[in-house]
């Protein structure tokens, strides 16, 4: 699904690499936690997968595509197969829950009949049935994140990237979000989640990849947050 071959990234104007010689592989259906302090390279790692940046050296394969050889105009096609969720939800104000979710399909030019069918299903899946007509401002943080997740998965991506999805949520709400992500993972969607939330990582017991100052310092199946 994802392969990093000796990947390094140095941002323009900086000497210190954001990532150093990363080698790893993530298989289809995995649920991977990406942990590490701020500035450890987690965001860079995720953005390289999304092809927002190109690595300074090394090769990255995502969903069978060599990103280094991927033409600029084929990047949108890659992103259609990757769902993305952020800490700050990034919903469109002034649009209802339904509109926020359907937006993702509309802008891909999907037929209205498909949208009418898939969007309610997805809203139901994330547990927001009955709130389709609400504005994002009227929802709690956890509910807003559910809308964002619905938008990310409405196109049935094979890969879901979550950058601190519980970062703005209280522990109770976070557990709900994690249950939802777990359900999505069981529908054959690979999930990579960057997080600072120790409790969640320790409870879920999934693969943990730890970055420190750009180095891959730990890659542990069924791992915990801190080095045990």
């Amino acid at each position: 699904m994802i392969t990093f071959e000796d990947v390094s990234k140095i941002y323009a104007g900086q000497t210190k690499p954001a990532l150093r010689h990363i080698n790893l592989q993530i298989e289809r259906g995995e649920f991977v936690f990406l942990v590490g302090t701020s500035g450890s390279g987690k965001s860079t790692f995720l953005r390289l997968i999304l092809r927002e940046y190109r690595p300074t050296s090394g090769r990255i394969f995502v969903l069978g595509k060599d990103l280094g050889r991927l033409h600029q105009w084929k990047v949108p096609a890659l992103r259609r197969q990757i769902g993305t969720v952020f800490q700050d939800f990034r919903l469109l104000p002034g649009k209802t829950v339904y509109e926020n979710v359907s937006f993702a399909l509309q802008v891909l030019g999907r037929p209205t009949s498909e949208i009418r069918q898939v969007v309610p299903e997805t809203i139901d899946l994330v547990g927001l049935s009955g709130k389709e007509g609400r504005q994002p401002e009227e929802l709690s943080g956890g509910e807003q994140q559910r809308v964002a997740i619905a938008r990310a998965i409405v196109n049935r991506p094979k890969l879901l990237i979550a950058d601190e999805p519980t970062g703005n949520l209280d522990p109770q709400t976070s557990i709900g979000i994690m249950k939802l992500l777990d359900r999505i993972n069981k529908r054959d969607t690979t999930i990579i989640m960057a997080t600072h939330d120790q409790t969640i990582v320790d409870q879920m017991r999934r693969r943990v990849i730890e970055l420190d100052q750009g180095n891959l310092v730990r890659d542990q199946a069924k791992g915990v947050y801190g080095t045990a």
């Binding site: 092809r51 927002e52 600029q72 105009w73 990047v75 949108p76 096609a77 890659l78 992103r79 259609r80 197969q81 990757i82 993305t84 990034r90 469109l92 104000p93 937006f103 993702a104 509309q106 802008v107 891909l108 030019g109 938008r151 196109n155």
Partner: protein, 304 residues
């Protein structure tokens, strides 16, 4: 597609005042551009009509032409000799810029004068001997006259070389000034319009940056993201073209058809087909003007 049109429309509404400003600037600059195109056409027409008829007249010496302020290459008290005449004709005919050389004798000139000014009271006092023999030189390219004039002036037996360029050139330099002046002003305004469109689209993209960010995230194609902005700019371009076409056809109808063509019949005037050509060019410029700055400004938002 519905989404695209809705986005275009909401963009136009949101930026109503900016859109109006763009349309005004574009209309003025396009109209000026169209007027300058018509000025070009008119000047070329007038030039073609007059310059094609221009001949160079090479006047030969008469016995009393020497000693005056315009004695040229004449010897005092002498007509141009036969050898000199032959020499002048050969030299003129060999000049590569010359197409044809006619000889006009005193008698021809006299007859011509009598015909042209049949009613003039001066005629009675005019004699054949007061006229001059001359060569009339027709040029291959009427614009290329300096060489021939210079050569003819240097030949012995030539009293004076007259070419109409001396008369017409000042007129045409004014017309040329007019033509390039309007074009220059039009170009400046077009640049201003272009920058304004760029800014408007940038603002429009800025107000929609959240939507654009999400579109990029979910993998909407660049064309899809850019289309509302292109349509927004094209809308302004089309409206400006229509307004400017009305202004151009209006000025053509009132200035040329109803006034100039009626009162100044001696000059050739541009026709409706020239006006249409000007409007066509305006339309092309309008499209380029709206598309290019939009592509440049939105590229920044589409960089993946």
């Amino acid at each position: 597609m519905r989404h695209t049109f809705r986005e275009t429309w909401s963009g136009l509404k949101r930026n109503m005042s900016m859109t109006i400003a763009v349309i005004v600037t574009m209309t003025v600059s396009l109209t000026l551009f169209g007027l300058s195109v018509m000025t070009f056409q008119e000047v070329d027409r007038v030039k073609g009509r007059w310059y094609d008829k221009i001949e160079i007249s090479v006047f030969l010496c008469t016995a009393d032409s020497a000693g005056t302020s315009k004695s040229g290459n004449c010897e005092p008290g002498q007509d141009t000799s036969d050898v000199q005449r032959e020499n002048i004709r050969t030299r003129l005919e060999q000049n590569p810029d010359v197409q044809e050389v006619f000889y006009e004798s005193k008698q021809d000139a006299y007859d011509d004068y009598r015909r042209t000014y049949a009613d003039s009271p001066l005629l009675d006092s005019l004699t054949v001997d007061q006229m001059q023999d001359s060569y009339r030189v027709k040029l291959k390219d009427p614009e290329n006259y300096q060489g021939v004039v210079a050569e003819a002036s240097s030949l012995p037996g030539v009293q004076n070389v007259l070419d109409l360029h001396q008369v017409l050139d000042p007129i045409f330099s004014v017309l040329n000034g007019l033509k390039w002046g309007t074009m220059g002003m039009a170009a400046l305004l077009l640049v201003a319009a272009m920058l304004q469109i760029g800014n408007t689209i940038r603002m429009s993209a800025f107000t929609r940056r959240r939507e654009i960010g999400i579109m990029r995230l979910v993998g909407a194609s660049n064309v899809y993201i850019m289309l509302p902005f292109l349509l927004e700019a094209l809308f302004a371009g089309v409206v400006s073209t229509i307004l400017s076409a009305l202004a151009l056809f209006g000025s053509y109808e009132f200035l040329i058809e109803r006034n100039a063509k009626v009162s100044i019949k001696a000059l050739p005037w541009i026709s409706w087909s020239d006006a249409w050509l000007a409007v066509g060019l305006v339309a092309i410029v309008a499209v380029v003007l709206s598309i290019v700055p939009t592509l440049i400004t939105t590229r920044r938002y589409l960089r993946v």
